[in-house]
């Protein structure tokens, strides 16, 4: 695998379970060792210069882990200290404020809800102000409110110059947040491009019709990709094909009661890329 992420990017790392996303992140973070090859963060090799590399990196792990002995504030102070930062309360307070954790500062980690624990994980990754932030499925199983708050904060960090690498199974999140995306399959990069180019590369659109009766003309049968009674989904290459389709229906005397046009989204691109041999 060869992959370069530019400083300041909001980069998406997508792939099905077992594709190697978390393994890749573990190698970058120094939690696992690669059999071969090298990884560097802003020029710092993750093994030869591990101290510099780790200072540059903030990781939000996928698992909801916490130390049950300590409060939120203690947890964040310890994490600052591990990165060599003393007296970091001003920044800790700011991070807690943005993640809506201030009211929970002196609460033991055990007493927090899953969503709150997730927020603390994000805060822990940010206590040392890392220029590169890796979020490994940060919104898995969390409510809409936290998602929106989290993305608002992470977008702000990205605007401030932080590089953000995101893995997620929510492709709509990746589509709206990431400027560039890599798709992984069985440990290999199978697609790597800007989100705009990936969407553009998947040409075509879907025309969803509710017909007055269950009788699709023979000429349109080849375009059909879905059918549920009198509701059919047709695949078109471009907008120019809409009128010929409607004309064919008129000629066959089949009325249209509802019409909906769908453009391909990242999920379509993902399914298409992952379906390739």
């Amino acid at each position: 695998m060869s992959l370069a992420i530019a400083p300041g990017e909001f980069f998406g790392l997508l792939g099905p379970n077992g594709a190697g996303k978390t393994t890749l992140i573990s190698i970058v973070a120094g939690l696992a060792r690669a059999d071969a090859g090298s990884v560097s963060i802003l020029g710092a090799d993750v093994t030869a210069e591990y101290r510099r590399a780790r200072r540059l990196l903030g990781i939000v792990p996928q698992e909801l882990v916490f130390d049950p002995f300590f409060t939120v504030r203690e947890t964040l102070r310890f994490q600052s200290g591990y990165f060599g930062i003393r007296r970091n309360d001003a920044w800790i307070d700011e991070v807690m404020h943005h993640l809506d954790l201030t009211a929970k500062a002196d609460v033991n980690m055990r007493a927090l809800s899953g969503g709150m624990k997730r927020r603390v994980l994000v805060a822990q990754a940010l206590v040392h102000k890392p220029p590169v932030i890796v979020l490994d499925e940060p919104t898995a199983g969390v409510d809409v409110e936290l998602r929106q708050g989290l993305w608002h904060f992470v977008r702000r960090l990205n605007r401030d110059g932080h590089t953000v690498v995101l893995t997620t199974h929510y492709l709509d999140e990746a589509e709206s947040l990431c400027t560039r995306i890599a798709m992984l399959k069985a440990g290999r990069v199978v697609a790597l491009d800007s989100t705009r180019n990936l969407l553009a590369s998947f040409s075509g659109l879907y025309l969803k019709l509710a017909l007055a009766r269950e009788a699709l003309p023979e000429a349109l049968a080849a375009r059909m990709v879905g059918r549920e009674g009198a509701r059919v989904t047709l695949r078109l290459e471009s907008y120019a094909e809409i009128e010929p389709v409607l004309a064919a229906l008129r000629e066959a005397g089949v009325g249209v009661t509802e019409l909906e046009l769908e453009q391909p989204d990242l999920e379509e691109v993902f399914m298409s890329v992952m379906g390739r041999p």
């Binding site: 120094g30 696992a32 101290r51 780790r54 130390d67 002995f69 310890f78 591990y82 822990q124």
Partner: protein, 251 residues
């Protein structure tokens, strides 16, 4: 340095927050041993001249508490962090493997020393104690707590489940401690068992520490110090090697 100091402080705070379980309970256990064995055997067993059995028992119980708590501290902390997954918070920052090692071992030494002092203070209510060679006692307390803290770290790294760690504790540490001469002098044993006791490194820890109290011991304290010192050096070297390779910690 801040990373190391923070990890050490975190480890100290961890056991302090549950001090009823980590400090008060082992002091009470040692005290119960003292009361029961002293009541049963005082006046019936005479080990050293001019030393009562109760007085003889105290250094052994202090050292036994030191050893068990040093081992328990590093091993339980590490296995809890490993199993709950929060060890990642220590593995992600730029903390070197040496800093990691010394933070865990020093925290174990502090807990072991605190429990040892607690047992000593409690025992002082029941029996008059004088330290004939305090520096020897101090040297053994530090070296032995360091050694068991290191072994606890090894067990914590190696074990993947709580029952594996409990097995290590119950089938290795506990028998070696109980058969090391805490409750008796090995001179009271038949020759075969005396010889076997010399193969138990824990015997030298108890015997050397006891020399600090009474100025007499089963083997010369220099020999005990050498055995414990070499064991500690080997354990440190082996554990640092494991940590450097990331054995069972960094996949």
């Amino acid at each position: 340095m801040t990373g190391f100091a923070t990890l050490l402080y975190k480890e100290l705070l961890r056991f302090w927050k549950v001090s009823f379980q980590t400090m008060a309970a082992p002091v009470l256990t040692a005290l119960l041993y003292l009361l029961i064995f002293a009541h049963a055997l005082e006046g019936r067993v005479n080990v050293y001249r001019d030393v009562s059995y109760t007085a003889f028992l105290v250094p052994g119980l202090v050292m036994m508490s030191v050893l068990q708590n040093a081992f328990a501290n590093s091993s339980s902390s590490l296995i809890q962090s490993k199993i709950s997954g929060n060890l990642v918070f220590v593995l992600l920052p730029p903390i070197s493997y040496q800093e990691f090692f010394w933070a865990y071992v020093l925290a174990s030494m502090v807990r072991a020393s605190a429990v040892g002092l607690g047992v000593l203070a409690a025992a002082a209510w029941f029996v008059e104690l004088r330290l004939q060679a305090p520096l020897w006692a101090l040297a053994f307390a530090l070296l032995c707590s360091g050694l068991l803290g290191t072994l606890g770290l090894v067990a914590g790294i190696w074990a993947e489940r709580f029952d594996q760690l409990a097995g290590f504790q119950n089938f290795v540490i506990l028998p070696l401690t109980f058969l090391s001469g805490v409750f008796y002098s090995i001179h009271s044993l038949p020759p075969f068992w005396q010889g076997l006791s010399h193969a138990n490194p824990f015997f030298y820890m108890i015997d050397g520490f006891r020399y600090g109290f009474f100025g007499v011991s089963d083997v010369p304290p220099v020999v005990s110090l050498a055995v414990v010192g070499v064991s500690f050096a080997l354990a440190v070297a082996g554990t640092l090697w494991m940590l450097k390779r990331g054995y069972k910690l960094r996949g």
